[in-house]
């Protein structure tokens, strides 16, 4: 890169008839260089020789690139350690050799150089090689080269100085690759992730605060302004974490950019920096809006003179759309998506929720729908439509699931056509799910379980015992059984009562249609807790069946659910293994199980360590629960015959189990 100063040297002054000589200067008089390393280095002012001892900083002087390259090439190995006595001589010797196309090489010590006259060049080099400092600019003896400034040469009058006001010329446009569009600062990325942005809304307009960065402001002024605003913002932030994030943004990220901006001359680069600066301004504005909203909302909540129901009331509730005007969403004739209908659906869904808020107070309200929506969206994106319907069927039954799928397709079409935002979709689906499940869920969930869905109950519920309705902990009531049976697929529900665990073991539980949402979520929760993720929040204290909310961390939700599904699949394999060992009548059950499990999981390349309790009498009626603990899987095998909580075997699979599935 050439700075202005260097650019001035890039061409000979017009008054000089002959180019100045190339000067290769070495510090061979340095007394403390018993063993120096010589080499070259590139830099803004061109190449330079370096003579460096292990203890000393580099001493460098500017030298022409071509000369350095040639000398470098003559020094064996490029960089070579030489004695101080040899250093100068070696450089002299190499540099003085014939350098094609270069003027006379003048190797001298600083003191000599300062007094030497300019020698006319024997050969006129191309202009591109005029990167030499005149002799009078060489550092004086004892003056560190690093402190020496090339100066005293006036820039060529005809040489234009690029400024930020100069637009890109046609020539530069043709020469440069297409870099005008900055992918890293595309509008999508520039968009601030406010709730409005997430909902597909436009960015809020810049307020006077953000507009304080005047369009005509220089880069320096822009940085000064934005840093000042961030400083103010940091003071206003009540959270230490936010303050820290602001500090990082201001001091590290912007600071680095600011340092770079000081050397930027060309238009495109300035433009890109301005864009980034504007991006920070918008972020600053968004955070301000968040903080302002926070303060206002806290003020409203803290105002005990106003009822909470009034404070939290939705302003849109004032214009409800009559439910009668809402078109049915499930009939085939309504499968045609029109913008008008979708808009009606949005309004109707909102109105429905407002009209009957008590319906949301049931156990399967908004949160449950949102949770299911997350899973459904994930499955849909993964192209697992069948699985999606299976999940819905497991939760709500096949009829409602089919209706939901119909509606899901409808809404999906609305999204693809651009008629619906994400917020609209969430509202529509949640509202529709509520409608579809109302009544059913009401009677199903009427048996509030109080605190029995706590940790102990949850753990016991995730195994087969839950499927069968066997009260392994004594907290499950018989009232659960009808619901469980109904939530299964039709063929499962047709199974006779008293179906053994071995019969369950033969089922292919990897089919999602046989895995309930809650089971998947519970497994996922276990995984999350084992992986130290703290974002799982439960609301068991509410005493509802579907009262556990899973807030997957951003970006990890899919992985977590995949983990859960994979666990479910492996659990199925364990059941199959158990069923297989039943046929090994003359062998020790535990040994057979160990062998079979090892072979089964090793076939997947997993590092398996299996240990089963030798007291294990039979796998008949045994229950299996798989729990991931870090990189291993623990399998608990319970045998109701010998006590509900008896632990009869284990298998440890030590592996980096599907961290990236």
């Amino acid at each position: 890169m050439l700075s202005f100063e260097t650019q001035a040297f890039a061409a000979p002054p017009a008054v000089v008839e002959a180019p100045p000589p190339i000067v290769v200067e070495t510090k061979r008089d340095l007394p403390d260089m018993p063993s120096a390393t010589v080499g070259t280095s590139g830099g803004d002012a061109g190449y330079a020789f370096e003579a460096k001892t292990p203890d000393a900083a580099a001493e460098s002087v500017p030298a022409p690139a071509a000369a350095v390259d040639d000398v470098w090439g003559r020094l064996p190995g490029g960089i070579k350690k030489v004695d101080s006595a040899e250093l100068g001589a070696l450089a002299d010797q190499e540099a003085k050799k014939d350098l094609a196309g270069l003027p006379t090489i003048d190797v001298r010590q600083p003191a000599e150089a300062a007094q030497a006259p300019v020698e006319a060049a024997a050969v006129t080099p191309p202009a591109s090689e005029f990167k030499l400092a005149p002799l009078e600019t060489l550092p004086a003896a004892g003056q560190p080269a690093s402190e020496f400034k090339l100066a005293s040469v006036e820039p060529l009058p005809a040489m234009p100085r690029p400024t930020t006001e100069v637009p890109p010329t046609e020539q530069t446009t043709t020469i440069r690759p297409a870099v005008e569009a900055a992918p890293q600062v595309s509008p999508e990325q520039v968009a601030v992730a406010t709730p409005e942005a997430q909902a597909g809304q436009n960015q809020p307009p810049l307020t006077a605060e953000a507009s304080a960065v005047r369009p005509e402001a220089s880069l320096s002024e822009r940085f000064t302004t934005i840093k000042q605003e961030l400083t103010t913002l940091g003071k206003d932030a009540a959270s230490a974490a936010v303050q820290n994030a602001i500090s990082v943004l201001r001091d590290k990220t912007i600071g680095r950019l600011e340092g770079l901006a000081g050397t930027v001359k060309n238009h495109d680069t300035v433009k890109a920096i301005v864009e980034l600066n504007n991006r920070v301004a918008r972020a600053e504005l968004a955070v301000r809006e968040i903080m302002s909203g926070r303060d206002k909302m806290k003020g409203e909540i803290a105002d005990s003179s106003k009822p909470l129901s009034e404070t939290l009331k939705d302003p849109a509730a004032e214009t409800p759309v009559p439910a009668a005007e809402r078109p049915a969403s499930k009939s085939p004739e309504n499968a045609v998506v029109t913008p008008e209908r979708l808009q009606q659906e949005v309004a109707a869904a909102k109105a429905e929720r407002i009209k009957s808020p008590e319906s949301l107070e049931r156990g399967t309200g908004w949160n449950d729908s949102k949770q299911m929506l997350r899973i459904a969206s994930f499955l849909e994106k993964e192209g697992m439509s069948d699985a999606l319907e299976g999940v819905l069927a497991a939760k709500h039954g096949p009829e409602i699931a089919a209706q939901m799928m119909d509606y899901h397709d409808l809404v999906k079409a609305g999204v693809e056509s651009g008629d619906l935002s994400e917020e609209d979709v969430e509202m529509l689906l949640a509202g529709e799910f509520d409608r579809l499940t109302s009544g059913n869920e009401g009677e199903e969930e009427s048996g509030a379980e109080g605190g029995t869905e706590g940790a102990e109950g949850e753990q016991a519920a995730s195994g087969v015992g839950q499927e069968q309705g066997v009260a392994t902990t004594g907290t499950r009531s018989a009232e659960r059984r009808p619901r469980r049976e109904r939530s299964r697929t039709p063929e499962n529900r047709e199974l006779p009562k008293g179906k053994t665990e071995a019969e369950y073991a033969n089922m292919d539980l990897s089919s999602l249609s046989q895995a309930t949402v809650k089971e998947q979520a519970r497994l996922s929760e276990l995984l999350q807790s084992e992986q130290g993720l703290s974002t799982v929040t439960t609301h068991n204290q509410v005493g509802r069946q579907y009262d556990t909310r899973y807030d997957y961390p951003e970006g990890a939700g899919k992985a977590q659910i995949k983990q859960a599904l994979k666990m479910r699949s492996n659990e199925s394999r364990m059941f199959n293994l158990m069923a297989g060992t039943e046929s090994l009548e003359n062998e020790n059950k535990a040994d057979a199980f160990t062998r079979a499990a090892t072979a089964e999981f090793e076939s997947d390349g997993l590092d398996v360590t299996v240990s089963a309790d030798p007291e294990l009498k039979s796998f008949q009626n045994a229950k299996v629960k798989m729990i991931q603990e870090g990189g291993a899987i623990r399998v608990e095998i319970r045998q109701p015959d010998s006590g509900a909580e008896s632990y009869v075997g284990s298998m440890d699979i030590k592996t980096s189990f599907d961290k990236n599935i």
Partner: protein, 86 residues
């Protein structure tokens, strides 16, 4: 359907409020909502700031590349002028 952040926050609190036990006393409910406001807004603010940091970091690399390209171009332009003047 543009909504202010405050209204988005209100909507969130409305849903959060429904997850609280119905029997929860008013004062406790208000305290829970206030705590949720802090948690929710902090998460949002951090998200905005972190995203901005990411954009700026990648933008920095882009600016470096642009600058290098611009420098080379400027050098070529000046050399071309020098050649013309010789």
């Amino acid at each position: 359907m543009a909504t202010t952040y405050q209204e988005a926050l209100r909507a969130h609190l409305r849903e959060f409020n429904k997850t609280l036990p119905e029997s929860m006393p008013e004062e406790e409910r208000r305290a829970a909502l206030l705590a949720e406001i802090d948690r929710f807004t902090e998460a949002d603010a951090l998200k905005v700031l972190d995203e901005t940091n990411e954009v700026l970091n990648s933008g920095y690399d882009h600016v470096v590349a642009l600058k290098a390209q611009g420098d080379v171009q400027a050098e070529q332009d000046q050399l071309a002028e020098v050649r013309q003047s010789l």
